[in-house]
Symmetry: C4
Subunit: 191 residues, 4 copies
């Protein structure tokens, strides 16, 4: 879907706009050029974080849609839900960049990605279950299915940790490094 690629390309490029605005504000506040960087490390960090998040989800999404030979209305609708979450992501990104990390801000940000991740799993499941959507010569693999479910599960866990336990914040996202550790043995066992 060309439309999906275009929206992702725009969303990822718009992430820089708040950083650009920060420069103008810093100047009116009398900061120096060095302080623009040092005083806005959280914004620069969240820019990078959201860049990586969007790009990673898009890469997986891209691979998933290689298994699709035909679209139906439901698939398009779920994909538009996926796109809505990509489009809205700069909003929680700006919130976590502008405010102190709290259970609310990290929960909001990770929660948004959790819903995005659930949409992604939903897309994988829908394609796998509908032979009229799936390309018979290139079906969704068991490994991709397990991977997308494990990813969503770990984002769920990260969300719970960030929203309930104080001072965990974005460190909860380190859980995602466990994705291959969990999904590979599972893929083997069920194979």
């Amino acid at each position: 879907m060309l439309f999906t690629d275009a929206v992702v390309a725009i969303a990822v490029t718009l992430l820089v706009l708040p950083l650009v605005e920060v420069v103008t504000e810093s100047k009116t506040e009398g900061l120096t050029a060095v302080e623009v960087i040092t005083e806005h490390r959280p914004q620069i960090f969240t820019f990078l974080l959201s860049f990586v998040v969007i790009v990673r989800f898009w890469l997986v999404h891209h691979r998933v849609f290689e298994h699709v030979r035909r679209y139906n209305t439901r698939l398009i609708q779920l994909n538009l839900g996926w796109l809505l979450l990509i489009v809205i992501l700069p909003f929680p990104t700006e919130i976590i960049g502008s405010f102190e990390t709290s259970r609310f801000t990290s929960g909001l940000y990770i929660g948004t990605i959790l819903v995005l991740s659930l949409c992604q799993s939903g897309l994988v499941l829908m394609i796998r279950r509908h032979p009229d959507l799936e390309d018979p010569d290139n079906p969704v693999t068991r490994g991709e299915l397990i991977n997308s479910i494990v990813t969503a599960g770990l984002f769920g866990l990260a969300f719970v940790l960030a929203a309930l336990v104080p001072n965990v914040g974005f460190y909860a996202l380190f859980l995602l490094f466990l994705t291959p550790v969990i999904s590979r043995p599972l893929a083997k066992r069920t194979a």
Copy 2:
């Protein structure tokens, strides 16, 4: 038309920018991260509303242009009018998100969508009436024609209600749920 898809993709993604700006403003006003959400529910709602509006019109537009085998100047001009309305939509969106709902604001917003909807019906009619534009193997169906006219009619009704009756506001848009109820029997009768 690739150009149309690109403009729609950009318009839909730009909708988030006012939400991003709201965060910076909220911080300078001394709001908390939670209040950024609770105090700006109208902006978040209108973001979602315009996202759905643009995406729905695009889906129908996309299907309509599958019936086209050749373009002429008139079709391109009407399509550019359609694009102008997609491009301008973030302006009334921002107005209804920033100001109290009144007969003016809801009339302005629904009026913009009404004109967009008239352009869409115009495109359907133009393609159906010009055999040199229409793909003979895949003509515009009677159902699509009726659907686009009923949609425009209901937006017209919603516009009149919102602009004339106080306190109706965006509830007038619920009329659009009647589209299938009205257009299906009409499509059958004339079939």
Copy 3:
């Protein structure tokens, strides 16, 4: 060239952003929703003007590039100059929307379009003069060449009028309506 289409699509969609910002400013200044429209008619007018300008140049550009079968470095460079002028157009647009019309502001705006128009004529000339660029089955027509030169000439005249004669301003652009009146007889005579 896909890249050209993408840049034009973005430039034309970005034109709405200053209008969106006007809403936020108006609210902090205590204007009503109606006054957002009535007090910013110049900005709305210049938005529409630049939308039409960009879209018209793009349509002609699109048709011109249908005659191209191969690119060379010079053609790409001139096209990037064309793109630079499309990309920068929102800047003079914002100036004429924000400041009183004067010989400087209307000269700056029409001057930018004049340079854009000279680039366009340059592209047409370059394609026509280089048989290795031009598609032999679909060469640039004499009419297209004359049309592009007459357009550039009238923008030149409009620029001179707007920059030298007080109170002419954007009315100078009405000269462009003479394009077909002048170029059609010329195309016939030289045919």
Copy 4:
């Protein structure tokens, strides 16, 4: 890669947004339309500089990817790094446009382009060394490889000069004019 082209098109078009904002600010500060231009020459200059930088890197990138017949994960990752640098470039652009030129600001800007240039060389090297990526009928030429390395080397030198020697600033970028002078003889000698 269509995604790359889209991101570059957006990044290059977004460069104008700070110029547009400058107009609104100038008006609230009571400047005249002429002063918008004369007082913001640094911003206009840096807009043009970054436009040229992005467009030049994209042209080379485009030519490099014509040698690719297949992608692997590593190539995609390095390309996403390249894209990250394109996306972030408006941030240092705004810094050098807003603040006095210093060793820090010119070092930051040239440093960003240096990393971009290293990514570009990395892409060229990776394609040349992996026969499964490279199109055997259209391999990366020795000249392209040398050119990309010389470019990165000159950006490295420019970075060192700008960051260490006071008052050099962006004049260090004139070093890049040496690219053909250095790389052509090298390409011949090694051929």
